[in-house]
């Protein structure tokens, strides 16, 4: 067994493993979207909500940032399946769990971004008679979302890597496929390096794309 065998296994297994990219991207995309939607609501609650709501969201954030992903995956998958006897695919559970965790982190990113928008913007919006809701939607959020892009980029890389853990539930993504090939060819070492590089590439492409987005929507007089 040498590099020769390893490279053969990698070459032959690559197409099959790459087939998992779609599932991985779906899981990541789904989780990030859910995280954004929920995270935005949480952030708004934390910045503009009454005290009790702020406390509640604080607890939610503490909870989902404190429990390990794996434990949460098992809890939802086995706990829900067994106890409530609902049939949900591992794929769905993976997106939901990752989405909930991501929403907790994203809420903090968005909260920071909203707070970074100068206070004068809200004042001016109110001064021309905008209701708070309109001011938030048309003045604050457009600016906050732009400010949140770097933090969001970071969140993307985290979720991308965390998606590998969903393998534990049997989601047929990259990690699962790599393992499948490895168990057949016994070239674990090279295959894990290969799949690691694929994750690296996906992470790089994603952050690059987000940087392009950041430049395109930048305020202060540039291209729109």
């Amino acid at each position: 067994m040498g590099i020769q065998d390893g490279m053969t296994a990698v070459a032959e297994g690559l197409p099959y493993v790459l087939g998992g990219v779609g599932v991985t991207l779906a899981v990541v995309g789904g989780a990030l979207t859910m995280g954004l939607g929920l995270g935005l609501l949480l952030a708004l609650a934390q910045v503009y909500g009454p005290r009790w709501l702020r406390r509640l969201t604080g607890i939610y954030v503490w909870f989902f940032r404190g429990i390990p992903l794996l434990v949460l995956l098992f809890f939802f998958y086995f706990g829900i399946l067994v106890s409530l006897e609902i049939e949900l695919s591992p794929f769905t559970i993976a997106i939901v769990v990752l989405g909930l965790i991501s929403s907790a982190y994203q809420s903090q990113i968005l909260r920071g971004a909203i707070l970074a928008v100068p206070a004068g913007q809200m004042k001016a919006a109110r001064a021309i008679g905008m209701s708070d809701a309109r001011a938030i939607i048309f003045i604050i959020l457009p600016q906050a979302l732009r400010l949140a892009i770097p933090g969001w980029s970071n969140e993307y890389t985290v979720i991308m890597k965390d998606s590998a853990v969903t393998y534990a539930l049997g989601v047929a993504e990259l990690m699962a496929r790599a393992n499948h090939v490895a168990s057949r060819t016994y070239q674990h070492f090279w295959l894990y390096i290969m799949v690691g590089l694929i994750y690296l590439l996906l992470t790089y492409l994603g952050t690059k794309a987000l940087r392009v987005l950041e430049e395109r929507v930048a305020m202060s007089g540039y291209i729109r």
């Binding site: 100068p118 001016a124 021309i128 048309f138 202060s220 007089g221």
Partner: protein, 257 residues
């Protein structure tokens, strides 16, 4: 008939920040076409007073009347409608950074007054021309000079058809050579009969523009009256002290200019 009824009236406004009482029972009347300038040292509450008028800042005691109708800030629709009638110009402009000059003026029309986009655009262009910025309508705030930014903010406020304009130190954040263009716009407004309350340090400008000057210190209006009286023959000693100090500074800067 309407001459006897003030457009805007403040009755006994009290405001505290924590333990400190910043406004100690301030009352004020603005009749149509009035231009009142509020002078005073830092911390006297002038800026806070303006912010109380359109309820950007809440206050503990007192009432605000528009055409003798008391405004109830708890009634949101009433509050928003009222704010449209009060235009406010800020010291640091507060233009919406993610919008062009045109969009800044337009957004109030489209999102608050619910005017169709095309009509709103026409109106916005007109207002920007009126303040002399027709060639800069597609620029973002970061691409504009301070004087231009302030003029956009005036256009933005005027687009809402206000009955009263509040100007909170409109030129304090501007480089000296840019102050003139903003003064010109304000003078135009005054000539057109706009009712205004202006907070400023520019004593010379205030003297020529104001119908009445109010001198505030420590949350109270110490003295008020026609510009000539307040600036040159003030009855209260504090007023005299302050005005002469400012006048000296102003003259000195004029000499070196």
């Amino acid at each position: 008939m309407t001459r006897t009824q003030p457009v805007l009236r403040l009755e006994n406004i009290h405001k505290r920040y924590g333990d400190a009482e910043v406004l100690k029972g301030v009352s004020l009347e603005l009749f149509k076409g009035d231009i009142k300038v509020i002078l005073g040292p830092s911390g006297s509450g002038k800026s806070t007073l303006l912010h109380c008028i359109n309820f950007l800042v809440s206050f503990e005691q007192g009432r605000v009347f528009l055409r003798e109708q008391a405004i109830n800030p708890a009634n949101k629709p009433e509050l928003y409608a009222y704010r449209q009638k009060i235009g406010m110009i800020f010291q640091d402009f507060n233009l919406f950074d993610h919008l062009t000059a045109l969009e800044n003026v337009q957004i109030g029309l489209v999102r608050v007054k619910k005017i169709p986009k095309r009509e709103a655009r026409e109106r916005a262009l007109a207002e920007l021309s009126r303040v002399g910025l027709a060639e800069h309508v597609s620029k973002y705030p970061a691409e504009l000079s301070g004087g231009q930014k302030q003029r956009v903010s005036i256009a933005r406020a005027l687009a809402m058809d206000p009955e009263v304009m509040l100007l909170d130190e409109p030129t304090s954040a501007l480089d000296p050579e840019l102050i003139g263009e903003v003064h010109a716009v304000i003078r135009d407004l005054a000539a057109g009969g706009m009712t205004m309350a202006l907070v400023t340090h520019e004593i010379g400008f205030a003297g020529t523009l104001a119908r009445e000057i109010l001198f505030m210190e420590n949350g109270v209006i110490i003295e008020q009256g026609p510009p000539d009286r307040i600036l040159n023959h003030a009855q209260q000693e504090r007023t005299r002290e302050f005005c002469s100090k400012i006048a000296r500074l102003h003259n000195r800067s004029q000499e070196t200019a």
